[in-house]
């Protein structure tokens, strides 16, 4: 589905991604974890074609929808308009199925997106991504600034979409615990390089990931 090989991205002279390789198969749930500034968002922007790559290859079989960090809605437009614009590349522009999927949005369809709560805005952002009928949904920092209960509700919806529709997920998260609990596999990114990868369960148990990302003990770890 997504095949990235030796990807390098630079902003001026600053290296943002340095030889990153990553794969996401159809229907898979993959996490990309790492600290702030590790290059996670840059990787998603490179997949979306927003930033240019210096070298390496990106191949995407199917349609990718990118839900950006900070929601990035059109705040002056209504919820309905935000969702409809998600289908700009083509396909059905009727968002009724999104309202069935995320019923909390239905009574707010005429409301300005900028006036919604953080959780509702994240739902609109995910709904807008889904409107393009993607094969893979890449979500950048879904949990940022949201109450744990809201995150759990959104996560449950994503898992349902993955199970029922075979939608592949690429979750980019600073919250490693959440990402590793939701996904099958994970990549750990540090200063533009993949420093660890493998099944999520294995990474959860690795002392390196525990120390660096799950708040585990620092002493004695190599």
């Amino acid at each position: 589905m997504i095949h990235v090989e030796s990807l390098c991205v630079q902003y001026g002279t600053a290296v943002a991604l340095d030889g990153v390789s990553l794969n996401v198969q159809a229907g898979e749930k993959v996490a990309l974890i790492g600290a702030n500034g590790a290059g996670k968002s840059t990787l998603l922007n490179a997949l979306s074609g927003i930033v240019a790559r210096k070298s390496g290859t990106i191949r995407i079989d199917g349609r990718l929808a990118h839900v950006p960090e900070g929601r990035q809605l059109f705040p002056e437009l209504s919820v309905d308009d935000n969702l409809r614009l998600g289908a700009f590349r083509g396909g059905d522009r009727n968002p009724d199925w999104i309202y069935q999927l995320l019923p909390e949005l239905a009574p707010r369809r005429r409301q300005r997106a900028g006036s919604l709560s953080g959780g509702q805005q994240q739902m609109v952002a995910i709904g807008r991504g889904l409107m393009s009928q993607p094969d893979v949904l890449a979500i950048d920092e879904m949990s940022l600034g949201l109450a744990p209960i809201v995150v759990q509700r959104l996560a449950a919806q994503l898992i349902r979409l993955n199970a029922e529709r075979g939608l592949a997920l690429l979750l980019v998260e600073q919250s490693a615990r959440l990402a590793l609990s939701l996904c099958d596999r994970a990549y750990v990114l540090e200063t533009g390089r993949v420093v660890a990868q493998g099944p999520a369960a294995e990474l959860r148990d690795s002392s390196f990931v525990e120390r660096a990302y799950l708040g585990g003990p620092v002493e004695g770890a190599s």
Partner: protein
């Protein structure tokens, strides 16, 4: 009383012209975040072109449409200069539009000379309650209201209108949805050019235009646009009407030469008021 109504009718018609220029400024700003200093030039080009096309025998209607089309094309060309280079800031684009406007002086003088030009519009007048209202005034008002109705419907009801608004609202998110921000920006400039053109062909029969008429058109259009907060075109209509009527009253009851000073004073007052708003000050502090 009849003098007051006569000034009012004149003010509404002139205000409609300001509103058309303002709507072009608002639309281009709304889509690209660029204040287009060449907006008055679109009206001048259209006025000159309509005079030329009528001069070679084209009938009314066709000549004006051709002139509006040319203004739209000039709008696209201005947009190419102002925003086509990736990474150009709105401030740099603003300076580029100023450059285009000054360059246009040379082209207009070469093409049409430096003397004012005009052409005849609708002749005659209708009488309402004992006051003669020139037919051209009514045409300007009618066309303006139809154009603004169309613009409101376009931005509020159509998918392309929403996509244009999305570009201004959040260009990054617009690109993620596959919306071509540059293409939409050029659509904005084309629409802005056409609206400037409509103002040009409607106002030229009322007041001859010359190559440097763009300054007064822009000043009045910009004053109307910021009166509307540079947000919705339909608010530009309100701004244009307020300014047009105020100027007409000043010219009627005081002195005609105070008219343009009024627009400048109004612009200054609004800019100072907006700059001292609490949010604006906080934005600077951040």
């Amino acid at each position: 009383m009849s003098a007051f109504i006569s000034y009012l009718v004149h003010g509404i018609s002139v205000g409609c012209g300001f509103a058309l220029v303002a709507s072009g400024i608002i639309i281009i700003y709304r889509v690209t975040r660029v204040v287009n200093l060449a907006q008055g030039m679109f009206s001048v080009v259209a006025g000159f072109a309509a005079a030329t096309l009528l001069g070679v025998g084209l009938p009314h209607g066709l000549a004006e449409l051709g002139a509006i089309g040319l203004a739209a094309a000039v709008g696209v060309a201005t947009g190419c200069v102002a925003i086509a280079k990736p990474g150009t800031s709105p401030q740099a684009s603003l300076i580029a539009t100023l450059g285009v406007g000054i360059f246009a002086y040379a082209v207009e003088i070469l093409g049409w000379g430096d003397q004012p030009r005009s052409f005849s519009g609708l002749s005659g007048a209708y009488e309402f309650w004992g006051i003669d209202v020139p037919k051209q005034y009514l045409l300007v008002t009618l066309v303006t209201f139809v154009v603004f109705g169309g613009l409101e419907a376009f931005f509020e009801r159509t998918y392309t209108g929403k996509a244009l608004s999305a570009c201004a609202s959040n260009p990054y998110a617009a690109r993620l949805q596959g919306i071509g921000v540059l293409r939409m920006g050029l659509y904005g400039f084309a629409l802005g050019g056409a609206l400037g053109g409509v103002a040009g062909v409607l106002l030229t029969p009322l007041q001859p235009i010359s190559y440097d008429s763009d300054v007064s058109l822009f000043v009045n259009g910009f004053a109307s646009a910021i009166l509307a907060g540079l947000k919705r075109p339909v608010l530009g209509l309100v701004g244009g009407l307020v300014l047009g009527i105020a100027e007409s009253m000043v010219a009627g009851y005081a002195k005609a030469s105070y008219q343009s000073s009024l627009a400048l004073l109004l612009t200054l007052a609004i800019l100072v008021a907006q700059a001292t708003r609490r949010e604006a000050l906080h934005a600077v502090e951040e």
